[in-house]
Protein backbone atom coordinates (compact mmCIF):
# COMPACT_ATOMS: atom_id res chain seq x y z
CA UNK A 1 0.00 0.00 0.00
CA UNK A 2 2.68 2.38 0.94
CA UNK A 3 4.63 1.57 -2.22
CA UNK A 4 1.75 2.65 -4.43
CA UNK A 5 1.25 5.80 -2.44
CA UNK A 6 4.90 6.64 -2.68
CA UNK A 7 4.76 6.20 -6.45
CA UNK A 8 1.69 8.43 -6.64
CA UNK A 9 3.34 11.09 -4.56
CA UNK A 10 6.47 11.10 -6.71
CA UNK A 11 4.45 11.30 -9.94
CA UNK A 12 2.24 14.12 -8.69
CA UNK A 13 5.16 16.10 -7.31
CA UNK A 14 6.87 15.79 -10.68
CA UNK A 15 3.66 17.00 -12.33
CA UNK A 16 3.49 20.05 -10.08
CA UNK A 17 7.15 20.83 -10.78
CA UNK A 18 6.51 20.59 -14.53
CA UNK A 19 3.52 22.92 -14.32
CA UNK A 20 5.52 25.44 -12.30
CA UNK A 21 8.38 25.29 -14.80
CA UNK A 22 5.90 25.86 -17.62
CA UNK A 23 4.52 28.91 -15.82
CA UNK A 24 8.00 30.36 -15.34
CA UNK A 25 8.86 29.85 -19.00
CA UNK A 26 5.60 31.49 -19.96
CA UNK A 27 6.55 34.54 -17.89
CA UNK A 28 9.55 34.89 -20.21
CA UNK A 29 7.20 34.95 -23.19
CA UNK A 30 5.00 37.56 -21.52
CA UNK A 31 8.04 39.66 -20.67
CA UNK A 32 9.48 39.81 -24.19
CA UNK A 33 6.41 39.11 -26.24
CA UNK A 34 6.83 41.33 -29.28
CA UNK A 35 3.19 42.34 -29.53
CA UNK A 36 0.22 42.49 -27.23
CA UNK A 37 -1.34 39.52 -29.00
CA UNK A 38 1.46 37.26 -27.82
CA UNK A 39 0.77 38.39 -24.30
CA UNK A 40 -2.93 37.75 -24.80
CA UNK A 41 -2.24 34.17 -25.89
CA UNK A 42 0.09 33.79 -22.93
CA UNK A 43 -2.68 34.94 -20.60
CA UNK A 44 -4.92 32.19 -21.94
CA UNK A 45 -2.22 29.59 -21.44
CA UNK A 46 -1.56 30.89 -17.92
CA UNK A 47 -5.22 30.36 -17.05
CA UNK A 48 -4.99 26.80 -18.39
CA UNK A 49 -1.80 26.24 -16.41
CA UNK A 50 -3.43 27.50 -13.20
CA UNK A 51 -6.27 25.06 -13.79
CA UNK A 52 -3.80 22.25 -14.34
CA UNK A 53 -1.83 23.16 -11.24
CA UNK A 54 -4.94 23.31 -9.08
CA UNK A 55 -5.96 19.95 -10.53
CA UNK A 56 -2.61 18.46 -9.60
CA UNK A 57 -2.95 19.89 -6.10
CA UNK A 58 -6.42 18.39 -5.77
CA UNK A 59 -5.04 15.07 -6.96
CA UNK A 60 -2.36 15.20 -4.28
CA UNK A 61 -4.68 16.16 -1.45
CA UNK A 62 -7.66 14.13 -2.72
CA UNK A 63 -10.09 16.93 -1.99
CA UNK A 64 -12.36 18.96 -4.24
CA UNK A 65 -11.99 22.29 -2.49
CA UNK A 66 -10.51 24.12 -5.47
CA UNK A 67 -12.91 22.85 -8.11
CA UNK A 68 -15.11 25.99 -8.13
CA UNK A 69 -12.01 28.13 -8.69
CA UNK A 70 -11.02 25.95 -11.64
CA UNK A 71 -14.57 26.24 -12.97
CA UNK A 72 -14.55 30.02 -12.79
CA UNK A 73 -11.12 30.19 -14.43
CA UNK A 74 -12.25 27.95 -17.27
CA UNK A 75 -15.35 30.06 -17.68
CA UNK A 76 -13.84 33.54 -17.46
CA UNK A 77 -10.19 33.05 -18.35
CA UNK A 78 -10.71 34.00 -21.96
CA UNK A 79 -12.16 37.46 -21.33
CA UNK A 80 -8.79 39.10 -20.82
CA UNK A 81 -7.36 37.96 -24.11
CA UNK A 82 -10.60 38.79 -25.90
CA UNK A 83 -10.43 42.32 -24.52
CA UNK A 84 -6.81 42.70 -25.55
CA UNK A 85 -7.43 41.37 -29.03
CA UNK A 86 -10.50 43.50 -29.44
CA UNK A 87 -9.50 46.86 -28.02
CA UNK A 88 -5.79 47.12 -27.29
CA UNK A 89 -4.03 45.30 -30.13
CA UNK A 90 -5.66 47.59 -32.67
CA UNK A 91 -3.63 50.43 -31.20
CA UNK A 92 -0.40 48.54 -31.81
CA UNK A 93 1.73 49.71 -34.69
CA UNK A 94 1.12 47.23 -37.49
CA UNK A 95 4.68 47.04 -38.82
CA UNK A 96 6.32 47.38 -35.43
CA UNK A 97 6.62 43.66 -34.80
CA UNK A 98 10.39 43.84 -35.13
CA UNK A 99 10.68 47.44 -33.94
CA UNK A 100 8.79 47.03 -30.69
CA UNK A 101 10.97 44.13 -29.57
CA UNK A 102 13.86 46.17 -28.10
CA UNK A 103 11.55 48.84 -26.76
CA UNK A 104 10.67 47.21 -23.40
CA UNK A 105 14.38 46.67 -22.81
CA UNK A 106 15.20 50.33 -23.44
CA UNK A 107 12.32 52.53 -22.33
CA UNK A 108 14.49 55.62 -21.58
CA UNK A 109 15.69 55.86 -25.16
CA UNK A 110 12.12 55.96 -26.31
CA UNK A 111 11.99 59.68 -26.98
CA UNK A 112 10.88 59.14 -30.51
CA UNK A 113 8.86 56.20 -29.36
CA UNK A 114 6.73 58.25 -26.98
CA UNK A 115 5.91 60.48 -29.90
CA UNK A 116 5.05 57.29 -31.66
CA UNK A 117 2.70 56.34 -28.87
CA UNK A 118 1.11 59.76 -28.90
CA UNK A 119 0.62 59.45 -32.59
CA UNK A 120 -0.77 55.97 -32.32
CA UNK A 121 -3.87 57.27 -30.60
CA UNK A 122 -4.83 59.33 -33.58
CA UNK A 123 -3.47 56.60 -35.76
CA UNK A 124 -5.90 54.05 -34.44
CA UNK A 125 -8.43 54.96 -37.08
CA UNK A 126 -6.08 55.03 -40.02
CA UNK A 127 -3.36 52.62 -38.87
CA UNK A 128 -5.11 49.37 -39.78
CA UNK A 129 -5.73 50.01 -43.42
CA UNK A 130 -8.20 47.18 -43.51
CA UNK A 131 -11.67 48.18 -42.50
CA UNK A 132 -12.86 47.97 -38.95
CA UNK A 133 -14.11 44.43 -38.31
CA UNK A 134 -17.65 45.46 -37.69
Amino acid sequence: MSVFEQIDRVLLTAAIVLVLAAGLLLLVRIWRGPSMLDRAISLDVIAALIIAGLGAKSAVALDSFYFPIMLVLAFLGFTGSVGIARFIAVRDRPQAVTVIAPSPAAPPGAGGRSGDDAGSGSDAGSGPTKEDPK
Binding site: M1, F4, E5, I7, D8, L11, L12, A14, A15, I16, L18, V19, A21, A22, G23, L25, L26, V28, R29, S35, L37, D38, A40, I41, S42, D44, V45, A48, L49, I51, A52, G55, A56, S58, A59, L62, D63, S64, F67, M70, L71, A74, F75, G77, F78, S81, V82, I84, A85, R86, A89, V90, D92, P94, V97, G127, P128, K130, E131, P133
Partner: protein, 117 residues
Protein backbone atom coordinates in the same frame (compact mmCIF):
# COMPACT_ATOMS: atom_id res chain seq x y z
CA UNK B 1 -10.15 -5.32 -5.37
CA UNK B 2 -7.90 -3.18 -3.26
CA UNK B 3 -5.11 -3.61 -5.77
CA UNK B 4 -7.37 -2.38 -8.55
CA UNK B 5 -8.27 0.77 -6.64
CA UNK B 6 -4.62 1.51 -6.06
CA UNK B 7 -3.87 0.89 -9.72
CA UNK B 8 -6.62 3.40 -10.54
CA UNK B 9 -4.96 5.94 -8.27
CA UNK B 10 -1.58 5.40 -9.88
CA UNK B 11 -3.07 5.63 -13.36
CA UNK B 12 -4.64 8.94 -12.37
CA UNK B 13 -1.31 10.25 -11.10
CA UNK B 14 0.32 9.12 -14.34
CA UNK B 15 -2.29 10.95 -16.41
CA UNK B 16 -1.73 14.12 -14.38
CA UNK B 17 2.00 13.82 -15.01
CA UNK B 18 1.50 13.30 -18.76
CA UNK B 19 -0.80 16.32 -18.92
CA UNK B 20 1.73 18.48 -17.09
CA UNK B 21 4.49 17.33 -19.45
CA UNK B 22 2.35 18.19 -22.49
CA UNK B 23 1.67 21.62 -20.99
CA UNK B 24 5.41 22.16 -20.60
CA UNK B 25 5.98 21.09 -24.21
CA UNK B 26 3.35 23.55 -25.43
CA UNK B 27 4.95 26.37 -23.44
CA UNK B 28 8.35 25.53 -24.91
CA UNK B 29 6.73 25.71 -28.33
CA UNK B 30 5.34 29.13 -27.42
CA UNK B 31 8.84 30.26 -26.56
CA UNK B 32 10.48 28.99 -29.71
CA UNK B 33 7.97 29.57 -32.49
CA UNK B 34 8.40 32.84 -34.40
CA UNK B 35 4.92 34.09 -35.25
CA UNK B 36 1.67 35.01 -33.56
CA UNK B 37 -0.27 32.36 -35.45
CA UNK B 38 2.26 29.62 -34.81
CA UNK B 39 2.43 30.60 -31.16
CA UNK B 40 -1.34 30.37 -31.05
CA UNK B 41 -1.03 26.90 -32.53
CA UNK B 42 1.39 25.93 -29.78
CA UNK B 43 -0.83 27.51 -27.13
CA UNK B 44 -3.69 25.12 -27.79
CA UNK B 45 -1.70 22.17 -26.47
CA UNK B 46 -1.77 23.20 -22.79
CA UNK B 47 -5.25 24.60 -23.22
CA UNK B 48 -6.99 21.48 -24.43
CA UNK B 49 -4.90 18.32 -24.44
CA UNK B 50 -2.77 18.94 -21.36
CA UNK B 51 -5.65 20.22 -19.30
CA UNK B 52 -7.98 17.42 -20.37
CA UNK B 53 -5.36 14.83 -19.39
CA UNK B 54 -4.91 16.49 -16.00
CA UNK B 55 -8.66 16.57 -15.45
CA UNK B 56 -8.97 12.90 -16.45
CA UNK B 57 -6.26 12.04 -13.96
CA UNK B 58 -8.00 13.96 -11.19
CA UNK B 59 -11.27 12.25 -12.11
CA UNK B 60 -9.57 8.87 -11.79
CA UNK B 61 -8.35 9.73 -8.33
CA UNK B 62 -11.49 11.40 -6.96
CA UNK B 63 -14.24 9.01 -7.88
CA UNK B 64 -17.42 10.61 -6.57
CA UNK B 65 -20.26 11.80 -8.70
CA UNK B 66 -20.23 15.47 -7.79
CA UNK B 67 -16.52 15.81 -8.49
CA UNK B 68 -16.89 14.07 -11.84
CA UNK B 69 -19.69 16.44 -12.80
CA UNK B 70 -17.64 19.48 -11.82
CA UNK B 71 -14.63 18.22 -13.77
CA UNK B 72 -16.81 17.60 -16.81
CA UNK B 73 -18.11 21.16 -16.53
CA UNK B 74 -14.58 22.52 -16.31
CA UNK B 75 -13.54 20.63 -19.44
CA UNK B 76 -16.68 21.73 -21.25
CA UNK B 77 -16.21 25.41 -20.51
CA UNK B 78 -12.53 25.35 -21.33
CA UNK B 79 -13.18 23.73 -24.69
CA UNK B 80 -16.02 26.18 -25.29
CA UNK B 81 -14.09 29.36 -24.57
CA UNK B 82 -10.67 28.42 -25.92
CA UNK B 83 -11.53 28.61 -29.63
CA UNK B 84 -13.35 31.92 -29.13
CA UNK B 85 -10.28 33.63 -27.70
CA UNK B 86 -7.98 31.97 -30.21
CA UNK B 87 -10.15 33.05 -33.12
CA UNK B 88 -10.33 36.65 -31.92
CA UNK B 89 -6.57 36.84 -31.38
CA UNK B 90 -5.87 35.39 -34.82
CA UNK B 91 -8.29 37.75 -36.49
CA UNK B 92 -6.77 40.72 -34.69
CA UNK B 93 -3.32 39.56 -35.78
CA UNK B 94 -4.51 39.41 -39.36
CA UNK B 95 -6.14 42.82 -39.24
CA UNK B 96 -3.16 44.57 -37.70
CA UNK B 97 -0.77 43.13 -40.25
CA UNK B 98 1.18 40.73 -38.06
CA UNK B 99 0.66 37.81 -40.40
CA UNK B 100 3.34 37.10 -42.96
CA UNK B 101 1.33 36.74 -46.14
CA UNK B 102 4.20 35.12 -48.00
CA UNK B 103 4.09 32.12 -45.69
CA UNK B 104 0.41 31.38 -46.20
CA UNK B 105 -0.62 28.66 -48.61
CA UNK B 106 -4.27 29.70 -48.66
CA UNK B 107 -5.56 33.15 -47.79
CA UNK B 108 -9.27 33.04 -48.28
CA UNK B 109 -9.88 35.98 -45.96
CA UNK B 110 -7.82 38.19 -48.27
CA UNK B 111 -9.96 37.15 -51.23
CA UNK B 112 -13.07 37.93 -49.23
CA UNK B 113 -11.78 41.33 -48.20
CA UNK B 114 -10.66 42.37 -51.66
CA UNK B 115 -13.79 41.08 -53.33
CA UNK B 116 -15.96 42.76 -50.78
CA UNK B 117 -14.57 46.18 -51.60
Amino acid sequence: MNVWIQLLDTAGALLVLIGAAISLLGVIGMLRLPDVLSRSHAATKPQTLGMLLVLAGVALRLRTGMDLATLALIAFFQMLTGPVASHLVARSAYRTGQVDHGELLFDELDEQLTDGK
